[in-house]
């Protein structure tokens, strides 16, 4: 394989491997490092009790989803998001920028492959979440003897797919800034948005109506995920979701076009 895509794969292979491996590895390490010592020291009954506690099946009220399943959902976008920003810092030199501009394939092809590698990172992360989910089910089957019928409606595949779009939505906004101003200054835009979100949450926690306990939040989240998977949310939600998905698809295309236009302006401000 040759060409700009090969260059992206070579330079970013660590980031790709990390994104592909982290969600699954976290699940695997947890199973091995938490449950294995319990099994060796206290036997299988202790493992069953420990697994039930971890997966929230000790109380009276049960939920379809638990933190063990949600863990990849939280870790995957954080991890792959960091890797995706890193994919721009490797090229932030004037020499490389000018070389890209002089390349027969041109700026647009180089930027195109950046978007492709970023999308690939999100997809690899999603696949890793799917494998992590499969490992969770296997562990549940081995420890508690869960059967296929018990698993109905407990998958998060839809959420994993939506996370890919969420990541692409974030990237479609911040990549043109990163291309134009560099990853440090461009990252300030993202930092500003995240800061504003934190402020909004902080204000809500200070003055807004709060649930009685964390269990209520967990139950509400579980209810939302169950309804989302089974199509029982209001029709307006699904219409909004469809709009979000297609806005992301077309927005990513326009983001790519804007990045192509801003590329050389960004290169001019790199050091050397």
């Amino acid at each position: 394989m040759t060409g700009l895509f090969y260059k992206e794969l070579r330079l970013n292979r660590t980031a790709l491997i990390i994104s592909a491996v982290i969600p699954f590895l976290m699940m695997l390490l947890f199973v091995l490092l938490d449950l294995l010592p319990v099994l060796l020291m206290n036997g299988s009954d202790a493992v069953i009790a420990e697994w039930k506690e971890i997966t929230g099946r000790t109380g009276e009220t049960g939920t379809s989803f638990n933190m063990m399943q949600i863990m990849p959902v939280v870790c995957a976008p954080m991890c792959s998001g960091l890797m995706q920003i890193q994919m721009f810092t490797v090229d932030e030199t004037k020499k490389w920028g000018c070389f890209t501009a002089s390349h027969p394939k041109g700026i647009c092809t180089a930027v195109y492959y950046k978007y492709v590698i970023i999308f690939l990172t999100s997809v690899l992360s999603m696949v890793s979440c799917e494998v992590a989910q499969s490992l969770y089910w296997l562990t549940d089957h081995i420890i508690l003897g869960t059967k296929a019928d018990d698993m109905a409606g407990t998958g998060l595949s839809l959420v994993f797919m939506l996370l890919v779009f969420f990541q692409m939505f974030c990237r479609m906004i911040d990549i043109p800034f990163i291309v134009r101003f560099g990853s440090k200054k461009g990252g300030a835009v993202k930092a500003g948005i995240i800061g504003a979100l934190f402020l909004a949450f902080f204000v809500y926690f200070l003055f807004g109506p709060l649930p009685e306990s964390v269990d209520v939040i967990a139950l509400k989240l579980d209810e939302f995920l169950t309804k989302l998977q089974s199509g029982k949310l209001p029709a307006g939600f699904y219409a909004g979701l469809a709009a979000f998905l297609w806005v992301t698809i077309f927005g990513t295309y326009f983001s790519y076009k804007i990045s192509c236009k801003l590329y050389m302006k960004g290169v001019e401000q790199y050091d050397k």
């Binding site: 895509f5 494998v131 698993m151 998905l245």
Partner: protein
Amino acid sequence: MTNKKLTLKRLLIFLLLAFGLAWIPWIIYNKVFGYHEWFEGPLVIVALPTIYAPALANILTRKITGEGWENSLFHFNFKGHLKYYAFALLIPLAQGILTYITMTLAYGHWDFHEMTERMSIGKLISNALTMLALGPLFAWNTFGEEFGWRAYMNQKMEPLLGTAGTVIAGGILWGVWHAPLTVEGHNFGTEYWGYPWLGILYMVLFCTVEGVFLMWLTKKTDSVFPAAVMHACNNMGVAGIGTFFISGVGDIQKFEPTAAQSLLCMIPFAVCAAVMIAVMLRKQKAAPKQV
């Protein structure tokens, strides 16, 4: 060894691996765990490598025979070919709409009021848009098959059997490859007249018809990814959007078409596939021969 003999040898090695790497684990898993537990249940992690059997067969055959990676079709080729990616999304949708309209006309009666009472047009559009947007992401799963069937098997078969022969033979092989799963109820359940042979026959016919469009997409784009996307949209149930067009069959929740009825309703889509093949063959004949 002549070119054709070498191509045949590679094809046979590929088929041996594609079938072996899938059938052996499937037969063992079906016996030991039961299909419902390992393919649809908590043991699904063991299913993941087996659905990549055709892709693994491609890779191993190339390594064993020293073929190299020319014509691997492992690139997106978006430039100038975006419309074929759009076709990859729309063909399963068109298939579903055609099939279910045929079902309504053959076994029910057209009642648009009944259709819109069951689901509003707005909800239909938002469901369709959501599935068409998410469908391609499922291609990570179907890439395992397409990288074998379209990116290798078809390329090896075409010089030996021609385009039409590749479609028919490829469809038969692809359909039969699913047999250990079809027999366990993966595609059509187990409670139908003619089980399991009619189910396997239906799968062969379905794969042959689908194979026409998958081959067309692959040849037009010189990439395996549009076929993977179309296959993904199929598996995700994009064709199911066409159930909006079922009416006049009574309680739709209880309406279960028999295998024979489903076969009949596949005819319009099969006709489209036949037209597609005829167009492909005519263009092939009209194309100037390379010296």
